[in-house]
Amino acid sequence: MRWLWIDRITDLIAGERASAIKAVSLAEEHLHDHFEGDPSTGRSALPVMPGTLILEGMAQTAGILVGYSSGFREKVVLAKVVRADLSLDALPGHVIRYDVRITQISPQGAATAGDVWLSDAADLNSPPRRLGTIDLIFSHIDQNMAGSEFGDHNFVFGESFWTLLRLSGVQPPSA
């Protein structure tokens, strides 16, 4: 099972845009180590969603958008982080929203531009705050790694992605 860093897709338009949310929970074990306290210095623990995993959440949201745009025929792989600026901490009880749009798409891959927003689950009436921006480039690897064979099986979009899509009300593309 691939480790998913988004809980639900809330918007998905092929070739155009997607949104997804992720609820941050203190039950997630990695928050216990990031950052753990140090009793010898008296430093308290500070559970913060790691920026790298926020980036992964955007990569999954954008990757699904790019994959969906080709009817999931292409193997979509994150190729380059063009820009990632994150300026707020996502803490337990926060909801992260990823908004992403395709800026360019070609047979070889796609470029996406995304915004990350932060809401407090305890105060959903307040407007979300901008957590950052993440721009990415994806490769359709079968179109780029000339001479390499990756087979027919699309290992990028596995069963866990289909579960996420189904739970989000997204119909799989017709075969």
């Binding site: 380059k80 063009v82 360019q104 070609s106 047979p107 480039i137 000339a146």
Partner: protein, 129 residues
């Protein structure tokens, strides 16, 4: 658009795509060996050129494909005469002087200089004018 204007735009794209300083982008600089471009940067550069100039670049138009995999074009790690002809046809914007004197296949990426990109953009703009 003058060649200087095109160069300025290309320089802007390369600074952005490869995180360079302005003075690093000289006409003769090679994208890979001088400016540190890796294979995936070529897709980024292609996308950014399309946005900067407003034209569409087809697959294989700016950077070649399937030449290095063809046994007729590459033998014993070197680009054959036939291969050079095929590459020249695909890449009229590149200067082949160095590759012809040393046709090792590992030197093919060195065809892509800043000047070659500027030539390519100039030809594209002229064709669409």
């Amino acid at each position: 658009m003058t060649r200087e204007d095109i160069f300025d735009k290309v320089r802007g794209v390369l600074i952005e795509a490869l995180a360079l300083d302005e003075d690093e982008v000289t006409p003769n600089a090679k994208l890979t060996s001088d400016l540190g471009a890796e294979s995936i940067d070529f897709l980024d550069i292609q996308f950014q050129l399309e946005q900067a100039f407003g034209f569409k670049i087809e697959q294989g138009e700016l950077f070649p494909e399937n030449v290095q995999q063809d046994p007729e074009f590459v033998q014993g790690g070197k680009v054959t005469e036939k291969g050079i002809v095929a590459l020249k046809e695909k890449l009229p914007h590149a200067d082949f002087t160095e590759l012809q004197s040393d046709p090792r296949v590992s030197r093919v990426p060195e065809l892509f200089t800043v000047d070659a990109i500027v030539n390519f953009c100039q030809r594209k703009l002229a064709a669409s004018a």
